[in-house]
């Protein structure tokens, strides 16, 4: 697949490296040759110092043959212009990175498609969604919904006293209302078999349905965890505003921002229920005054990854159950994770995995890249005659490093065991290690 990426910023570069390691033909454009640097001699891709909005430049790049054109420069209007030009030159599909939420409204979709912008992504909104879903229940590290919430994927850190600790998985039986799809131990992701055991401090990923969340909470030993109501967000960034707008009504949110002017802007942008406080989020007295001891979740979204990590680590000691840190420096993520500060979000990885999902066949309507690990979750729609419908799950010979997390049939989530037969029109959620496995799994859905 020939993919042209315009903009060699953080998202563009990350995406280019990710896709070139999967043997896609990548051409990375940027006006500024300094940004392209030595990428070409270190990765199997081509870089060109060409302006993404230059018609001649795009022609010479060979946009006409491109299967996908991705514009991820920092400027949204430049991205949209580049996509329009690329589509008119013959690019099959275009994606533009934008900031303005209005563009995402469904009624505008036809208009954008008509001018050649086929998809829009806004990394801030995606990050805000991820933050809200991860703080919704503080004992859950990661939370994803499939098919409008019919099936859930939950990541839970296992502490002392959990029911499933140090027990071979086959002892749990087969009629349990959840499926244990993966275990994250230290920095390694494991797809467990029947003889594997859950150990202390593992992060365990369950698939289940909404009804059985309390049951998961029980087996994971998390009964004493309160639901999140009081939230403090540090840093009045665009993500903070989006997150505040998207939070459910029962949450009480305070945003702490150091810059007075920015505080005012944030205050104007959010509803009255959300309190904006002008002050330094690193100031412990201020945090105590604003009720850090009654806070259930603390979200650090300043521009500095270091500040976010340290602030989360500090408030964790003050008794806040749930912390979320924005870490934009990808190399810091494993370290942030080992500091035990709860969830880590990264705009680049979120945006890249979202675009990656667009690349896969249309049958996959949901691919989520689990942040800070090389695991992917994919949702497939089964069609008549697919290979996966021909045998029971245990006889299919699924490749190692993959497991079926569950399926959604007629809008209802169902757990999958070895004897389950998958039927046409089911939505199947597959968990796999390494995004290259998705391609292998795709063969079962043909």
């Amino acid at each position: 697949m020939k993919i042209v990426i315009a903009g060699a910023g953080a998202v563009g570069t990350h995406l280019a490296k990710l896709l070139s390691s999967e043997n896609q033909d990548i051409i990375l454009l940027d006006e500024n040759p300094a940004l392209l640097g030595t990428l070409e001699s270190n990765f199997d891709l081509m870089t060109l110092a060409v302006s993404p909005t230059s018609v001649i430049g795009l022609e010479e790049t060979g946009v006409a043959q491109a299967d996908l054109f991705i514009a991820v420069t920092p400027d949204e209007s430049q991205n949209m212009t580049a996509c329009m030009l690329a589509a008119n030159l013959g690019a099959k599909k275009t994606v533009a990175r934008i900031d303005n939420q209005e563009y995402l409204m469904p009624r505008n979709r036809d208009f954008f498609a008509r001018v050649g912008i086929h998809s829009l992504i806004c990394p801030e909104i995606l990050a805000a969604q991820e933050i809200i879903s991860s703080i919704r229940m503080s004992w859950i590290r990661q939370w994803w919904e499939f098919s409008d919430g019919a099936l859930l994927l939950l990541g839970v850190k296992i502490r002392q006293g959990a029911e499933i600790l140090d027990k071979p998985l086959y002892e749990l039986g087969t009629d349990i209302p959840y499926h244990l799809v993966a275990i994250k131990r230290e920095h390694e992701m494991i797809i467990p078999g029947g003889n594997d055991m859950v150990q202390l401090n593992d992060i365990v990923y369950f698939t289940t349905t909404r009804k059985y969340i309390p049951h998961i909470r029980e087996v994971a030993g998390k009964e004493h965890f309160p639901d999140v109501r009081n939230v403090i967000i540090m840093g009045g960034s665009r993500i903070a505003i989006r997150a505040a707008q998207q939070a459910p009504d029962y949450m009480r949110i305070k945003i702490i921002e150091n810059d007075p002017k920015k505080s005012e802007l944030v205050a104007n942008a959010v509803s009255d229920k959300i309190m904006v406080i002008n002050g330094d989020g690193r100031d412990i007295d201020l945090l105590v005054r604003e009720g850090i001891h009654e806070t259930d979740a603390f979200v650090a979204l300043t521009d500095s990854s270091e500040t976010n990590i340290l602030a989360c680590s500090a408030v964790k000691r003050m008794g806040v159950q749930k912390t979320v840190a924005e870490v934009e420096n990808i190399d810091y993520i494993p370290m942030a994770e080992s500091l035990d500060i709860g969830s880590v979000i990264n705009k680049k990885i979120i945006a890249a995995s979202h675009i990656y999902q667009m690349m896969l066949d249309n049958d996959v309507n949901n691919v989520k890249s689990l942040t800070f690990s090389n695991a992917d979750v994919a949702e497939f729609t089964v069609r008549e005659g697919d290979r996966i419908t021909q045998k029971a799950v245990k006889d299919l010979g699924l490749p190692r490093g993959t497991t079926i997390g569950g399926l959604v049939r007629n809008g209802k989530g169902i757990m999958v065991s070895g004897d389950t037969h998958i039927l046409p029109d089911d939505h199947v959620i597959v968990f796999c290690l390494g995004s290259s496995m998705i391609k292998k799994i795709e063969r079962f859905f043909r």
């Binding site: 070409e40 199997d44 081509m46 010479e60």
Partner: protein, 482 residues
Amino acid sequence: MINGRFISRILGLLLQVIAIFLLICAAVAWGYGEEDLEAFLLSALITMASGGIMMLFGRKAPQKFSIRDGYFIVSATWVLWSLAGTLPFLLGGYQMSFSAAYYECMSAFTSTGFTAMDNIDSLPHGILFWRSLMQWIGGLGIVFFTIAILPYFGGTGVHLFAAEMTGPTKDKLHPRVAITSRRIWAMYIAITLLEAALLSLGGMPLFDSFCHSLCTTATGGFSTQQAGMSVYDSAYIQYVVSIFMFVSGINFVTLYSLFSSRRRKRIQGDEVKWYTGSTLLCTLFIACALVYFSGRDWEPAFRAALFQVTSIHTSTGFTSEDLTVWPSCTWFPLVLLMISGASSGSTTGGAKCIRLLILYRAVRNEFRRIVHPNAVLPLRIGKQPIGTQTVLTVFICIFLYVGFSLFFAFLCMESGYSFVGSISYCAGCIGNTGAAFGEFGGSSCSFLSPAWKWASSFMMLVGRLEFFTILLLFTPQFWKHQ
């Protein structure tokens, strides 16, 4: 630090590739029913076995690959392949010393064209084919060839590509290195076959036309005759060879985009102009000199000049007649062309036109700056601006080229060779030209002492990989643990 086991595995794999080429030569020897069949089979067996052992040693290597590994692999591959290349010479019973055989193979792989053999006319077909084939593979690059055929390299091929390609800018035809190299090799094969067909139509024996074609597209300059191309006194053959030498001197990426429907204008436009211009200018100058000083007719003078200019300019090193009897005013442009070489990203040696072009424009800008101290003077090749770092690298490369040539020429003179001979021989080795004046202008360099044969092999390798790749291995930083 370098990943020894992984390198061992890749080098082992590369040895398997050369074993296949040895088997091809064995097939040629078998086809002609000659006695060197056994030598080739044995060579292939030894190469395969040692490659197998190296692969076995590295079978559990971690797949970690750094820039250092890339440079080490490329350097080691050239040394190892030349070593494997000596086997048929040593096992075939040609009374060749190891140093002479290694000299021959390094000269072949680097497509230089100096030979240490005096008995080429009496050699069997298999070994003649082997000499030509070595030049042909080495012309575009050993590792470059392997990237094209083995999907195994994948992303790691990028590091190798950068270490082996010639020229200050590394251009790609396609985002993926493997596909770039596959297309270029396909074009290379097509050019070779076309030339072989044209030569055999001109009355050259089929085997000879094939071997000469392999050596022309590689701009190597080995011949199946001791006396070289002067045996074929046919205007047609000389024109055909001249044209193909010229074509092989063009940047292959540019050449490919000339044929493909979607052409992208990249920076080589200027280089091609410079290359064509210098070829025409020197040809006309030498043709005139031959007409006025040697009293020849226009057509033979033009033909001889064209042949010799393209041969020296592209660093091929074929000679159609004895250069030493030419008017001495023709030597100067020929030495200049020898130092210059043809385009980057082609099979030729020398400094490459694009470097001289950058050098020229940098010098021109410097003079403009004196007159207009506040002028902003970007250095452009075509439409592409060339950064200061690239200009600096070009200067360093030219400095190394000249410095190395002079250093070795000095040593050469100390060993008792003539001034003109020493300078042109050392420049010819480092520039991979394979043509020289004085005592080195003859058909063979077998008179060199073993020490000089080793030194020459080193010069050829350093020149072929454009200094940095080989010399890097001699720097302490390369081996430090950080």
